[in-house]
Symmetry: C3
Subunit: 428 residues, 3 copies
């Protein structure tokens, strides 16, 4: 809890605002954890344990979940200073009834037993929704996801497009595309038809966004249709994909622009998560290999923002340097909005800095406050709590105490950040 009285009051009120979480990796068919391994298997814990000295042996498939948990908890005293550990402690306390000050290796069995008991409750998913004050949550769906078998009002589909943009040279991706759309993809025209079908399918199923994560080497350029075509044609003919091939960037731009055109046509905002390099630490744990390069600029995206004034671009960045640009670009471009605090930036000191810049300089209707990025629903609560604590303090310090806003109006602002802007921007 924040230790100043005003921030505490604001925090308590913030917790009453029903959340719409605009970005996660939840599997709607398995939205909650089934055991503690589903919690501590989150890459934040495996990578911190590994970084602090744990070998990868406990992460092998054949290791039992409890032994994996024991191995990770065996290293937790090396990273119990981190914000990420804080999320776990809050899950243990809130959901498992853990009452200790800290979690150590000695708590392994107690925690695993508690998790098995608690997570096995038939209404566990409902309980998590209710206790997290969560109304609905966006998913990250591969382009060939049938989007069936779950409530798309609660689990809002979102078309993730990384494979189409960066792996069109993979025959396997094209086969999946053909299978998903019923279109034999052989040339640009059929590819475009397939993309059209994808957008139809997704929007009919209630998708509310198109999304992609973009590496530092990528940046959008203006293209004439011919160039567009040639890039895609080249990719479609490749049968032996390699990590890098001549024309890879041209194709990526071409497909990306095609997607932007469909976002315009289907009125879908386009989530751009900018700046992550994949496989930087080659021997890292699963999902713990990617890192950023601070030397990117939204200036490289100017052509895109100019070319698609009708498309709302929801931008996530990875550093405070990029955030200062983002706040400025969002203040100037009507179609650029700020989105959450992503990955390596999702640490209190950076959230605080980046949040203050946005609250002070970006129109309040153009800010998506936070998303959980969670793989299991249990993480929505501690991650949003971290954000709400910081938000409460910033509202107290920068708005209420200086007399900019009354407490009531500060809460109206927070409601936009936590809920109403998600509704208006994604038309939920």
């Amino acid at each position: 809890m924040p230790h100043d009285a005003l921030a505490q009051e604001l925090y308590a009120e913030l917790c009453r605002i029903p959340l719409i979480d605009p970005h996660s990796h939840i599997d709607p068919h398995r939205p909650v954890a089934r055991g503690l391994d589903d919690i501590l298997g989150y890459h934040y814990y495996t990578e911190l344990a590994h970084s602090a000295g744990m070998s990868q042996a406990p992460l092998a498939k054949e290791v039992s979940p409890r032994e994996r948990v024991r191995a990770i908890l065996g290293h937790v005293d090396r990273f119990d200073n981190t914000a990420q550990y804080g999320w776990f402690l809050e899950i243990a306390r809130t959901f498992l009834g853990f009452e200790g000050d800290r979690v150590t290796a000695a708590d392994c069995d107690w925690l695993c037993d508690a998790a098995e008991r608690v997570f096995a409750q038939p209404d566990w998913e409902e309980q998590v929704f209710r206790r997290s004050n969560l109304e609905s949550i966006f998913l990250t769906n591969e382009f060939d996801d049938p989007l069936t078998g779950f409530d798309t009002k609660r689990y809002v589909p979102c078309l993730r497009t990384d494979a189409l943009v960066f792996q069109l040279d993979h025959p396997e991706v094209r086969q999946r595309l053909g299978k998903a759309t019923g279109v034999e993809v052989g040339d640009v025209l059929s590819f475009r038809r397939a993309i059209q079908r994808l957008f139809q399918h997704f929007t009919e199923k209630g998708a509310r966004a198109c999304a992609i994560s973009l590496p530092p080497w990528f940046y959008p350029r203006p293209m004439d249709e011919g160039w567009n075509t040639s890039g895609i044609e080249t990719a479609l003919r490749i049968t032996e994909p390699r990590p890098v091939w001549p024309g890879r960037d041209v194709t990526a731009y071409a497909v990306f622009f095609l997607l932007a055109e469909h976002c315009r046509e289907f009125k879908l905002p386009f989530d751009l998560m900018i700046g992550v390099n994949r496989r930087v630490y080659e021997n890292g744990v699963y999902q713990g290999q990617d890192l950023f390069d601070q030397r990117i600029s939204l200036f490289d995206y100017r052509e895109l923002f100019n070319a698609f004034p009708e498309v709302t671009f929801c931008i996530s960045v990875l550093s405070s340097g990029q955030n200062q640009e983002l706040a400025s670009y969002s203040w100037i471009f009507p179609n650029v909005v700020t989105s959450g605090h992503w990955w390596y930036s999702n640490i209190p000191v950076h959230i605080e800095h980046d949040l203050r810049a946005r609250l002070q300089a970006v129109p309040k209707t153009k800010q998506l406050g936070y998303y959980s990025d969670a793989y299991k629903l249990e993480f929505v609560l501690p991650k949003f709590n971290m954000y709400r604590r910081i938000l409460a303090r910033v509202l107290a310090d920068d708005f209420v105490r200086p007399g900019v806003y009354s407490a009531e109006r500060a809460l109206d602002f927070a409601r936009l950040l936590l809920r109403e802007n998600v509704r208006s921007i994604f038309r939920v």
Copy 2:
């Protein structure tokens, strides 16, 4: 007002220091607003309203000023969280007697009527000077400004040189130069003579600085005279200017160095405002199209700082990353001083961070604390107040409470930042 007692006391004392504002865009022939449209027409409001959803229609010439104000105020509830809105609210309260907590569209007529009444007072200009505790203010004068018809002690001329450096290929610029100086500009020698005349004219009229804003692609290089010549010769022969032409950068460097030489000869500090790209948002409102690129470094300016040890360079930057460099370069180079908090950096969270770095690491005689960048005098007060509030808090937290300075010595420091360094650096 800051909410801690010490900061409040310091703030009150800071407000008693008579200001010399070392950079503005005031028109000395129309220094104050004539109606609310002159206030809300400031690009900060038109661009925020546009960014938040207002079309450009209300900004057309044929729209009446009051309808334009109404349109902007019609969107103010979407950006009343911003620091920029805060300046407007303070103007409304301080100068117009507005007593509400917030301004909304419903206040349009009241505010417009009040503005007409207040601004029409015959001594309004004097009142603004007095109530802002403003002693004098620097202008931004085009090179062919006759600098007549105003008090150059109060409105200090400053030679702005962007057109000479970046548009020498425009015949129209060369004609203006010829007309202003009486020199037929046809080759390097005559161009140099014309520059010489400009500096004579400006310094005779009391100019105290030369100034330019520089895009990220520009950086100074050392040049021998021959190369210098060829760049300028090329530009002087161009009759059909294009946005980019071969040799543009060479010419820009050549003219820029010529200006630096004249700064040395005429003992004028050179204000460098580094890092803005023009027309990034192509369909943005007037003056609301420019944005920065965080990927620049003062390292690129080392040759310049080394080549002109006799010229004081007053540097403004646009990001906290660049500010950390600026604080270090100013700590090392005797001829580099820090200057104000510019444009996208002129937001409390950035001012606070950048200011602390300067106060803690740069000799106190080498810091120009703040400038208003105002187009109308009414903005001097709220913008300096924003700075003074932050300065009061930083002095309280980083200097007085830790015992580094007594309150009295902290105020001496502030007097350097707000007034005395302007006098000594610009020889006012």
Copy 3:
């Protein structure tokens, strides 16, 4: 002293932790100052005085120490706002018994007399160790240092390798190498043998680290042995070194990788101090000519970190942008640890920001909290005090008050930062 009670208590406790200082430039044969000139001759003071207007004349050899001190103190009223001045004031108060609020030129003789008296005490070195609560301190030893005549438990040797990597083309460097190792260096094989001997010599004498400072233009690349060889062979044949020569970067990479291989073999951590350009201000005072370029990324070091998983890289950076990367790279790579707050980043506002990022995101066993970088032992106390004050405040604000850690556990964390991690990482 910090002004909040909890931070004060923590600060007092932090001061009780015996320090192991993991990086300095102490000369073990002259570890303490002999007069005030040895204190104010530190480049921080000569460069600030020069930046604030002092000519270089008082720095000439023939000027008497007291007159040099008088000249520097004659400018101290222009930079008595800086953190660097704060270190001097603390030295004057703690070691010399100075009781004033501020130091001015008028204090010159009193201070010089006091310094002569105090520093002349036969046990002065012991006193400084004791009053600084310093247990041992790392040195920076040139590769041909015999490492004799001092207690290597107290003054821990460290192999500094800049000359080998960046000046192998200098015949004088190769001669020194030959003389130090007894190996006639004529080709790659003999060069490798010489390096091997250096590492043997240093580790036998108790060296605990290999170290280098790297300019922005340098970055490690993967290399096959042949390329490796050719770069070094080329360098070894050069008889007339020039600042830049074809293949300089190739050679630098080759030697650097050779050093990394020996770090692996001899189990020495490799201190990388990344990002400083030398001689940026060409006419600056001695050691006051170097500045950084914010545009570097640890992404360029990925090949190195991947290629040497067995070598611990202790990374120092120069800007908060780079620190945000460092915190993330250290969170992911097991062999990357954060190291101190270096040079232009060693200013409270940057320490505070960078420290918070590390404390919140990096495993606590992977952080080397601080080093003094001192040339004379008297600076250990004020520099570590600056760090401890900030650390106390951050621990209070981010850990104890929010309930993350009890005060006791916060102090355990601090003990890792100030002492235990040095012991475990460098195997002291």
